[in-house]
Structure formats: C-alpha cells, structure tokens
Amino acid sequence: MSTIATFPARTASLRTLACTDHKRIASSACVIAFVFFIAGGILALVMRSQLAADGGVISQETYNEVFTMHGSTMVYLVIVPVALAVGLYFVPLQLGAAEVAGPRVALAGLWMYICGGLCMWSGFATAGGAASASWWGFDPLSESVHSPGSGMDLWIFGVMLATLGQILWALCILITALRGRAPGMTLMRMPVFTWTMVVTCLMTVFGFPALILALGLLAAQRHLGGVLVGGAGAVDYQALFWFYGHPVVYVMFFPFVGMVGEIFATFSSRRFFGYSAFVVALLAFAGLSMTVWGHHMFSMGTVSNKYFSLTSTALIVPAGIEYFDFMGTLWRGRLRFTTAFLFALGFLVQFLIGGLTGIILASPPLDYGLNMSYFVVAHFHYTIFAGSAFGLFGGIYYWFPKFTGAMLSERLGKLNFVLMVIGANMTFFPMFVLGAEGMPRRIARYPASSGWQALNVLETVGAFVIAASVLVFMLNVLVSLRHRRPAGDNPWDAHTLEWATSSPPPRHNFDALPPIRSYAPLLDLREALEEAG
C-alpha cells in the first residue's frame, strides 16, 4: 500500500475550501448539494401551492422560472453531484486505496460545481429573472429572441461548469477503480457499490460531453446566430441533449442501486446474491442506457422509433436480473429492519412503479398520447424521488456513522421514513391519474371545468408532508451530532473494506488492511474466526 506525506494546512477554516482529501471534497459537495436540495424543494412547494390554488400565487412567467430552476437544481446540482460525491468518498475506501486518483482534479471538480451552482442561481438576481426554458433548455425557446435576459446565459454557463465538474469527478473515480485498487482487490472482488460507480462513471465520461457541446452551440447561437438554424437546429440540439439526458437518469439511479445492494447484504447478514450476474447486468444496462435516448423524441418523428423502442424495452432484462439478485440476497436472510434497510425496501418497491410505467412510455403509440403530460412527470419522479432519493436516504443512514463517527437516531429515522413514504406517494401517484386524464406538464393554470383541482390539492398536501419528513431528517442530524452516540468502526457488522478503518477514516484511509479474498472481506474474516472457534 502506498503511503502519503502531507504538507501542513495553513488554517482549519480555509483548509476545507482547498483540501485535496477525497473525503473532505465529497463531504463539502454533499453539504452544498443539501443546501441546493432545500432551495429546489422550496421551489417545488411554490409550484405545488400554485397548482393547488389554481393559479393564484405567482405569474405564468415566474412559474416558468420556478419549474426550470427546480428541475435544473435537482438534476444538475443535487442528485448527480451527490451520487458522484458519495462515490468519491467511498470508492477509494472500498478498494483499500489511500487516496483518490488525481486529488487536485477532484478539487477542481468541486469548485466547478460550486461556481456552476452560483452561476445558475444568480439568474434570479438579474433584471429578466432566471432561466425559464425548462431543465433541458428547449431550443428555440432558449434562444436570445425568446429568452433575451442574461438569466438564460447564466443558466447555460452554470450548467456547463457543473457538468464539467461532474466529468472530472467521474474520471477520478473511474481511474481509482481501474488503477488504484489495493493488492488482492481484483476486478471481481470489487464491492457492489463500487461496480455501480464504475458504470456510472463510464456513462458520465462518455455521455456528458454531449451536453457541454449542446450548450456551447446554444451559447454560440444566442450570441452569434447561425448555429442552430430552424427546425433542423432544434432537432440537433435535442438529439445532443438527450444523448446526455437519458444516461443522466441512470447516473441518478445506479449509485443508489449499489447503496441498496450493500444495505441488503449487510442487514440480511448474507453475501450479495448473484454477484457475477449483477456485474454483467450492470455493464449491459449501462451500454443499453446510452442507446435509448431517442425515446424522448418519439413524437417528433425524427429518430428511428423502432430501434429506440427495442433498446428501451430491452432494459427490462438487466433490470430484472438486478431485482432478482436483490430478492435472492433477502431470501432467508436474518433481516434487521433498521432505518437504512427500510429506505432500501422503499426504493425497491417504489422504483418498480417508476420502472414499470417506463415500459409504457417506451412504446411509441402509448407515448404519443402521454408525452408532455403529467404521466411523464409522475414516472420521472417515481424513479428519481420515490426511487433514487429513497436509496440516497438509505445510504445516508447506512454510512452516516462512517462519515461522522456518530449514530443517527433510529426512532427519528423511522419517523422520517414513514412521512417520506406517505408524502412521496401522495404527491406523485395522483400525477399518473392527472396525466392519463390529459393534464399537460409545465402549466401554471388549468380550466376550472377540468376537475383536476382535487387531485392537485392532494399532491400539494403530499409535498408538504415530504417537507416535514426532510425537517425530521435535519433534526435527526442535529440531535445526533449534538448528543453523539459513538459508532465504532463497524456498527452494522458490514462486509466491505470501508468498515475496516476508523469512523471517520484518517487522512490516509487505512493503517492496515485485512486480507482480500472476495468482495466481502470483513465477512470472510468473521467466518474464518468463527471456524477457528
């Protein structure tokens, strides 16, 4: 194992902003992402209040800004950065590495993310307001004729910076996984979470540059003109955007699949079932997910609908293998119903709803009817919030002791879980019904005769229940850090290497490593000790 000599830091406060330790970088990114999560969540509450009151809270133009910044914040500044930041923290630890590959590059990624976020949100301070052309910056709506203010420019440059930062993080994680593993840690001994991060980073590195190119062209069109010309230009922009825009959905999914896999294995006290099949399924899944983006353009008639319908439907196969492996891991396990485990179960069930409704949207004839309706909004939020966010909360409850050295309160955690299940389903399930009835997305008002208000009010109540659950989570963190219950190195009897070091880990990660003979080295060690009596 390599050792590290460090230069002394100048001051503790400045150190956080410029530290090259992957754990500090990742922790800073998580805290910043949580601040953006609260800001994006407040925008969601404004939107829901508007729709419950049937258009009485804000103007149409402000509503456009609010939904654009809500979506942009949650995708570019919350879920994707958190997914990568958790990887940045734990992949080196799970591999027994002393450091992430390219620590300065990772730090540069953090600063790009910070600058990008500030840039996007500073649009609200401009005379014309923030960007209002949706999270995918519709062309020609985002061109200077239709969006003349500097808010749109700030959005474009902000998204470019944040995305570039994410690519840098992904490169660091990928190179660490490929080149920085400890002796004995072969590819097929890497933990499940690390494998999910490898495929996440592959998609980030090879898919995300398309977004930077698309936004570069959009910026050129706004300032120079003649770049994205007419209908063909708009279609080309969409093609470039969705080449990023679908893989990003899986970037917001795979890391949480990995977290759930680790949680299931730990809290059922079993090895992860079907490890090899899971790894192959992940790689196949990631490849397919780079070739399904055209299903976002079914109704435009400019892509090969049959091809994209085929690849989109084929996703069921690797997804089915992953679900089968989860069930196999739980089967006959000694289950411990901790908060982390409950959130993981919530992910398993609720993501299934998002996934199954995705099959409906993968069929062009059905998509023609449902495209741009609330059905799509419901599907997306079931995958990203009811799915991935549940996986993330599971991951937080699971790894918080390692992050901080303190345990979270299980009682408050379970209250957090119950409120979030109620809130998520109350908010997002009625959207399927509204979408099927024809309610379009991105509208600030709807006809009184439509009969949509009752369900909209229900959704709004659900959104406030989610907000209450997030408050309970914040309270839990504050209380647990104030009245610290020491976690110890491995409070859950988990199986992977990050639990072989202290909580929180030292700067160099490990003083010594146990022998690595499988993807669950600590379980191997425990079994060997039991056999030896």
Partner: protein, 125 residues
C-alpha cells in the same frame, strides 16, 4: 503486480459499438448514429491505451507525496469560470477571469515544483 482493468473499457466500448451497429438495420439519421459511435470509439481507444499502460508499467508500490490542500487549484477554477461567464457578459470579465486563472496556474506550477523538490530531498526521484 500487473492489473487487467482495461478489459472493463474494452468490453463496454465493444458492447456500445454492437448496439450502435444494430442501428444500421433501422436506417438511422447521421447524428443518431455518430454520437454513440464516437462514444464507443473513444472508450475502445481509452481501453487500448490503458491496456498498453498496464503492460508497460506495473503498479507502483512506492510512497506518494501529495499536498494536503491546493489553493492554487481553487483559484485556477474560479478564474476559468469567470472567463467562461465573460463570454456572455463582455471582454472585461474574460480579462479578469484570465488574470485570476494565470494567478492560479502559477500557484499550481509552484506546488508542483515544491513537490519535486521534496521528492528529490527524500531520494525518490
């Protein structure tokens, strides 16, 4: 010790290539074909480069020296961000960004030189 990690990039790039080639049956538009083909090609090339690197250079077991913090990196990125935003807001911001970037770049060079000196003193170079 040698690693065989390139197989991940090679296998995935090949799989992406197969999926891209499958499009030929469905008469794709140029852009629809080009993007995944490019991604596949870059992935395969990266895999080949890594494979050659793995053949030529075994994993280093010697001590690594890294700085605990890098103010220069943060300064460099802030400068680049200002310059980028300057594209939309005027030359004055581009120039400020370029100046801050130059400051940051100088700092990165200084950090690298300090690292080199330390390695030289410890006899690892």
């Amino acid at each position: 010790m040698r690693r065989r990690s390139a197989i991940v990039l090679l296998a995935w790039g090949l799989w992406l290539g197969v999926l891209t080639a499958l499009q030929a049956v469905f008469a794709p538009k140029l852009i629809q074909f080009t993007m995944p083909a490019l991604a596949s090609a870059v992935c395969l090339i990266s895999g080949l480069v890594l494979w050659i690197a793995e053949l030529c250079t075994p994993v280093s077991e010697r001590a690594r020296l890294i700085s605990d913090s890098s103010y220069a990196t943060a300064t460099l990125v802030v400068g680049l961000a200002l310059a980028l935003v300057g594209v939309g807001f005027g030359l004055w911001l581009i120039l400020i960004g370029a100046g801050v970037s130059a400051l940051g770049l100088g700092g990165v060079v200084r950090e690298q030189r300090a690292r080199g000196r330390t390695l030289h003193r410890s006899g690892q170079r």
